[in-house]
Each structure stands twice: as C-alpha cells, then as structure tokens.
C-alpha cells in the first residue's frame, strides 16, 4: 500500500511539469503582446526593458524554466496589465471565493443528490424513483447559466427573496447571497450523484454477496447499510475528481452571472486584456488542483477497493 501511494505521488510531478509545459506553450502561441496593445506610444527602450523584466527576450525553454521555478516556489509572477499587482495577489483575492462557491455546490450535491439516489434505488420504478430520475435528467441538460438566470429572475427579481448578485466578503461569513450561485452550480453534480449512486446501488444489490447476506437472515437495514451502501458509494468518491473539472468550468460562468469576483471572472477579464501571466497562472493552478484531486481519488480508490492497487 505504501509503495502504491509513493509511486502514485512521485508520478504526479512529471504530470504537473507536462501540464505546465502544455499550457505554457499554448500561451506562447497567442499572438499579440500585452505591452504593444496600449494606447500610449511606448518608447523602444522601455519596451525592451519590460520584455527583459518578464524574460520575454529569452528563448522559450528558459522562460519555461523560470516559470516552473516560480510555480514550485509559489510565485506565479507579476500581472502584466495590472502593474501594481502580482498573480499571487489575484489568486489570493479570488481563489477563496471560488473555492467556497465550489465547496457549497458540492455540499448541495452530497446533501441532496446522494440520498435521492439511495432512496430511488431502494424503491426502483416507484413514483419517487421516477421523479428523481426525471429531475436528474433535467439537471443534466440545463445549462448552468440558464438555471442561474432562471433563479435570479424568479427568486430574486420576482419574489425578491435574495439579492441578485454579490458575495460575502470573508471566507467564513455566509449570508443569503451564497444560496443561488451555489445551487445553480450544484445542480449538475446533484443530478450526477443521484444517477450514479442509484445505478451503483442497483448493481450492488444484484451481487451474490448481497443475496448471501439476505439468505443468512441478516436484517434488511444491515444488508443495505453494511453491504450495499459501502460498496456503492465508491463510484461517488471516484467521480469527485472528474466532477471537479466541471465545477471549475461552472464557476467561470456562475461568477460571471452573479458578479462574484472569483478567479473565473479574473480569468475571463485577463483573456481579453491579454494578461498572459494571469491566464497562465489560473490555468496552471486549476490544473494542479485537478491533478492533485485525481491523485487523492486514486489513493482513496486503492484504500476502498484493494483490487485496484496492483493494476497501477
């Protein structure tokens, strides 16, 4: 088990390097230079100095090396269009807000999606099952920006229950403004978890060991709790990592609609400002988060299901 974990952890380092390289090379392909797009006429000497400051006059692999060094020392470099701020400042500003939004969305999914899936599987083809799955299909298909605007329109504008936009200032403060964005973002994972858990439970209930447990006279609750639930929640754990990518994608749009100053909003603004270092920094950061989440899920999977350890 320890070797498995060590091997898996060591392996993430080249993966992270490759991810940074890919993103870095892609950023290099974008035409246009942030310093050549100002209205002011920048003298050639200043232009050169700026390029030297950001190592833009060096070959790409030297720039890459500088960048990797920066990432591993937790320094994502200066912002190219907001001269007084660094990418670290922007991440420190925006990331906690996005993280909170994402975590609350997960909370919706776990609190409502998982029980819905369990209940639906316990009574397959019942009315509840039917509605849960209908709801899940709808949650799958509705674009999150549509859910978000629907909620704003009916809950905020028409009913006036909660403010239309904004976000609490500190990470630990909560008010009514967090409800709509997190629900809009959480609807997809909720639908996903409900479906996933239902499918896994139905499959587990057909296994031989469940029949054995029933046959030896174990009570229904114990069969479900001990044998079925434990085994069918594994897919829900594994699904966390790929869902993370979707949640990150979702935060971009949700932050845009609810005017939440998270990293997604900064990212979108930076793309139009050609602020390379912010775009690169945020992409690398989210990629690293996903890589680490994958690592965590693989290890969890190894712990929960010993059969998978040998295979990798």
């Amino acid at each position: 088990m320890t070797t498995f974990i060590i091997r898996r952890v060591v392996w993430t380092i080249p993966v992270i390097l490759l991810v940074i390289l890919m993103t870095f090379l892609m950023m290099k392909q974008i035409k246009g230079n942030p310093f050549r797009h100002t209205e002011r006429n920048v003298p050639a000497s200043i232009q050169r100095n700026l390029e030297r400051k950001f190592h833009l006059d060096r070959p790409w692999y030297v720039q890459y090396a500088y960048y990797v060094k920066g990432v591993f020392t937790l320094d994502l470099g200066p912002s190219m269009s907001q001269r007084s701020r660094t990418v670290n400042d922007i991440v420190r500003d925006g990331f906690p807000r996005s993280l909170k939004l994402g975590l609350l969305a997960y909370l919706w999914a776990i609190v409502f999606g998982v029980p819905a899936g369990i209940l639906a599987a316990l009574r397959p083809n019942s009315i509840f099952d039917y509605f849960a799955m209908l709801f899940s299909s709808i949650g799958f298909a509705l674009p999150s920006f549509f859910v978000a605007t629907l909620l704003i329109y009916y809950v905020s504008v028409r009913a006036g229950l909660v403010p239309t936009s904004g976000w609490p200032a500190s990470f630990w403060s909560f008010d009514s403004r967090v409800i709509l964005p997190s629900f809009a973002l959480g609807l997809f994972p909720m639908a996903y978890f409900a479906r996933l858990v239902r499918g896994a439970m139905l499959e587990t209930m057909q296994q031989d060991y469940v029949r054995t447990a029933k046959a030896k006279g174990l009570r229904y609750r114990r069969v479900i709790g001990l044998h079925v639930l434990r085994n069918s929640l594994i897919p829900a754990v594994t699904a966390t990592a790929p869902l993370l990518g979707l949640i990150i994608t979702g935060t971009f749009v949700i932050e845009f609609i609810f005017s939440i100053p998270g990293i997604g909003r900064y990212f979108i603004n930076s793309v139009s400002n050609r602020d390379y270092s912010v775009v690169l920094g945020i992409t690398v950061l989210t990629s690293i988060i996903i890589v680490i989440a994958n690592l965590f899920v693989d290890i969890m999977y190894g712990v929960l299901d010993p059969r998978t350890r040998e295979a990798r």
Binding site: M26, L142, P143, F145, F146, P242
Partner: protein
Amino acid sequence: MAVDRREAALPTAPPAVGAGAAVEEGTAGAPVAQTSLWRDAWHRYLRNKAAVAAAAVFILMVLYCLIIPGFWKIPGIWTSLKDYDPNEVDFSQSYVGFSLDHPLSTDKFGRDLFARTAVGGQISIAIGFAATFFILVIGVVYGSISGFLGGKVDNAMMRFLDALYGLPYLPFAIITLAIIGSQNFLAMTIALTIASWFTAARIVRGQVITLKENDYVRAAKAVGARWYRILARHLLPNTLGVLIIAIFLELPGVVLGEAFLSFIGLGINPPTASWGSMAQDGREAYRLHPEVLFIPCLAIATLVMCANFIADGMRDALDPRTRETG
C-alpha cells in the same frame, strides 16, 4: 480509473457485436454479417419509449433548424405576408410578445425569434456535430494506436492523456480560441475538439484492448492476417456500436460548451446567431423580457436532454446486459 459521465455511461463489456460476428466469421475473409445484430438492437431501441420520443424530438428540432430559415421567407405559412429575415432589424417590432406573426416573440432589435432560433440552431448543432466528428476521429486514431500496440507505447500514450486530462476544459478551449484569434464556426469547432477529445480516445482504447483478447482476433492472427487487417476488419467495426453511442454522449458537452463560451462573450458573437450568442443577447434585458433568454436556453436544454436519452437508449439496445442496472 477516473471516470467522467461519458465514460461512466458506456458499457464496460464489449457490445454484443463481437459475439455475434464471431460466429459468422469462420474465415478471416468472409464478409462481416452484422445485420441481425443491428436489427436486433433496432427492435430493442424501439421498445424504449423515452428513447424513441427523444429521437423524434431530436429529429424534429434538427428539421426545424434546417427548414424554417428557408421556408420562413415564403409568405403565408403564418398569417402574415411579410418575410422574416432572422437578421432583419426593425425597431418598431421590438419585444412584441408572442403572436401568430411571431410565434416566439421578437428581441430588442425586432428580429423574429422563431426564425433566429432556427438559424442559431443551425450553427449550434453544426458546431456540435462537427466537433463531435473530429473528437471521434482523433479518439479512434489515438485510442486504436494506443490500445492495439499495447505495452510501453500504450503506457506512454495513456500517461500523456492523463496529463491532458488535468487541464480544465473551459480555460483550455478559451486559450485555443485566443491562439486562433477569431471566434467563428471553425475556430469554435477546433477549440471544442481540442478541449474534449480525451474521453473518446480512452473509450476507443478500452474497447480495442478488450476486443483484442477475443478468440476471433487470435484466430485471425493465427491464420496470418496482417495487423492492419486485424485492426480494420476485426477491431474497428466492433467499436462501431460504442462510437455511435459516443456521438450522442459527446454532442451535449460540445453544444453546452459552445453555449458557455458564447454566453460569456468569448465564443460566437452577436449579431451572428447561435443559441449561446442569443442567450448572451437575451441576458441584457431578461428582467423585463425573460423570453429572449429563455427560448435559446430551452432549445439547448431540449437538445441536450434528447441526446442523453438517445445515448441511454442506444446503450441499452446495443448491450442488453446493462439494461437492468443502468
């Protein structure tokens, strides 16, 4: 193995094609007789009412998008004799509400939304199918090379894929768009393809690896079939079922991706109509005129939901073993 919903929705076992084809394939050169299997699947699909309804709605939507813009200019379909051009601006007609003249109302510029939704749908659906096509082409090439060669090559190719898997899809698509430097149909197709081909490659690889171990492949090898013959004759045709399902698994993601990008202003830009750009248009005034936003969103949602149901129905039809647990 990390699973996303496209992978999770697929059968883990090879579809029944392998077993069906193996019986008929005594000699390596005989034509692959698959009609019975496909007819079988077709019958199973028809029994699934939700999937049939979804397919019907899907076809109707595609027909609506293809036909309405052409016929809409022919006077007399609705009560009016006026031609409605989806891009014609007429401020006297702005936000007129639902009427027989404008069955889906008009937007701020007085453009008819019934016609505009159809034209926008053409772009959205076309991007959807084009990107899905390229995703599957790349997936088949990458996945079959990786799965077929196996060993170190496979390992390296899959590790590369793992690394790419780490890149969150929206930033990746946005950066690709920035590289291309324009936001038209082609650019969107390329960006969405580049951002989401990984799953298809994994699916094909998994399928090829499972099929490779089948007896009929060994038999073909034993009688001296070359690698390309095995690949083209025995492996790829048997991934066809999975690929057809994959079309409808990939399509929703791409359509939603287009809508996302256009909605935040980094995709198709107004006045060009796509469902995403229409939603972006509608966002300005949705507090007073929500229908302008809701119509394109409902179109997207309907299409995506239909595609999901079709994929489910096809999976059940092609692999009856998963039917009970799905």
